[in-house]
Symmetry: C2
Subunit: 173 residues, 2 copies
């Protein structure tokens, strides 16, 4: 036995199918759908020297103006250090401004500028167009079903936090 790799290295020639009780079709479609969903803004962002992370920060700051840094970290589920570079760039380029928290002066409330608002809208426009187009191609179901499905895909603990409505307490008081 010359360096046999012990394990069974025989090639399996049969394709896995949905028969294994696993919905490979939807798993695969979800991958393709999300990739193409993000491709339009990704291309635009490249012109600014930004990446997808900038889009996400910009999105949530526009959705919930007055968010604190800690709240933003909690929504994105990333670390302070990961956010730092991206947020700094968005502030330096005048897309986002920080205001000292009125109640707690340690906090920094994040707000979009007009420039930041515009970019956020521009990035979201092709995504929304894609969604509208996809909704129209469905036969039986409507927008509400998709909203229900996507929300149900999110971890249960987080569903309250992301509630469909834009008034989250961060902006209004």
């Amino acid at each position: 036995m010359l360096k046999e790799k012990t394990g069974d290295e025989a090639p399996i020639r049969a394709a896995v199918a949905n028969e294994d009780g696993i919905d490979f079709t939807l798993i695969e479609l979800f991958f393709f759908a999300y990739r193409d969903f993000t491709s339009d803004p990704d291309q635009m962002l490249a012109d600014y020297g930004f990446g997808r992370a900038h889009h996400r920060v910009l999105h949530f700051v526009n959705r919930r103006p007055g968010l604190t840094v800690a709240e933003l970290l909690d929504v994105l589920k990333i670390t302070k250090q990961s956010l730092a570079r991206v947020l700094k760039q968005l502030i330096d380029t005048g897309h986002i401004v920080q205001l000292q928290g009125p109640r707690d002066r340690r906090q920094r409330e994040l707000y979009p500028t007009a420039k930041g608002r515009e970019l956020s809208l521009a990035l979201s426009r092709p995504q929304s167009r894609r969604i509208q187009g996809a909704l129209m191609e469905m036969e039986d179901a409507g927008r509400k079903s998709i909203e229900q499905f996507l929300k149900a895909m999110v971890n249960p603990e987080l569903r309250a936090q992301i509630d469909t409505d834009p008034s989250h307490g961060a902006a209004e008081d």
Copy 2:
């Protein structure tokens, strides 16, 4: 004027809403849904020292055994160099084997081993469970609507290639 940053830096205090003609709600939900959708396999992959890219390669090799390297690159829409490390690791760990193409000996047909098949199934199991759960939470629509929606989210040029059915010509001839 002491270092005024010229631009209008006034904070915008109003949240963007879906009224701007943009469906921010679904855009946001799609982000959260995909993040959580990938979180389960991501955690498992960490035990192997693998990342999400390994999962994707493993998935398509299991879905379309006999795929050539070029075909895989075309499906994933990444570069040869990006694939190289990931594929090499999967081969070195005995999850995937390469067979010389029967017609064109320059080609390398990719097949999963039993080990690779098992890992692929294990990674997909929690994802499929999540999807099944989400489908059940919908009121009016069914699985077919979601498949239609997701497929419609994909760039039109690519829809043929990813056709729902697992027999893609790569495996069968």
